[in-house]
Amino acid sequence: MRPFAFVVFDGKRLSADPHADGRRLRVDARCLAGTPVEGAFAHVCALPQREAAVRYDEPEVQQARRDALEWWIPMLGDRLVCLSTFAVDASLCGGAVTVARDAALFEYDPFARLFPETVVATDDFCEVPPPPGPVIERYAGSPWPGGGFN
């Protein structure tokens, strides 16, 4: 399986149709590969503008992923459906999405430190086991936590 899929974000809506109008962003392919969770909410921390990206190697992106492993995922508990960073290319991060069964804890999302947040209702994402950590490096341009050497 390819380690990433595409979603499209236009600033208000998040679509799993890669041909929708808006900015195409790579997500962990597993997030769209199973049975979708209906009635979920996506916390999109991204902008629709193409130039809105930071390097994955920047300390703020690394720390957001550390925070996700350390407390964000445990805090969400059973609410969590899946999460993925948005990869723009092999080196740039366009933000992240956290999908949960309700929007109650989105104010704590560490990825909101990177880009402005938008909450959208979604039926597109499926449940993915959260990353076990402590790895925050990515594999060959995959959105974190997707990919691997297998």
Binding site: I73, G77, P132, G133, V135, G148, F149
Partner: protein, 166 residues
């Protein structure tokens, strides 16, 4: 159960510190891994050792390598312990002691807690054991330098591009 180097560890199926069902192979995820069995949060030696491990996780997180800790603490206790440590790796909870006897890792001298005895296993991605450590005495646990060495040896063996591609 024979847990000597060269044998393969069973694919443990246990809840993690959030209560989610996990398999060891899923947590290993194709990377070199260290699996540490631990008495539990109450043991001052574990508290000291885990703090040391938390410093090492900064290297694991950029080196495509994993850390997994196994104890009989319930998930909610592990979650609190993990949060207090600032750990970003996974704890597996064998609070029902389903694997404790099977792995023959019970610390029989502690009849109060019936915990795992401290042991360390460095693992290839297919769960084959590279090296084992008996941590019954604190100094028997793998030192951080030994874990670095083992991760290097396993990575060298499993990464096809260890030698820089021409």
């Amino acid at each position: 159960m024979d847990l000597s180097p060269g044998t393969r560890l069973p694919d443990l199926d246990l809840p993690d510190h959030t209560g989610r069902a996990r398999r060891l192979s899923e947590l290993v995820g194709g990377d070199p891994t260290v699996l540490l069995s631990s008495r539990g949060w109450w043991c001052p030696k574990e508290q000291r050792y885990m703090r040391e491990l938390c410093r090492l996780q900064d290297e694991f997180e950029v080196a495509y390598s994993r850390i997994v800790v196994l104890s009989i603490d319930p998930p909610e206790v592990q979650a609190a312990f993990r949060a207090g440590l600032g750990a970003r790796f996974t704890f597996l909870s064998d609070h029902e002691r389903r694997w404790l006897g099977e792995l023959d890792l019970c610390e029989g001298t502690d009849t109060l807690h019936e915990p795992y005895r401290p042991a360390g296993f460095t693992l290839f991605p297919d769960l084959t054991i590279h090296r084992t450590y008996n941590g019954y005495w604190y100094w028997g646990r793998p030192r951080m330098e030994e874990l670095r060495r083992d991760m290097r040896e396993i990575s060298e063996a499993v990464r096809a591009d260890w030698e820089v591609p021409a």
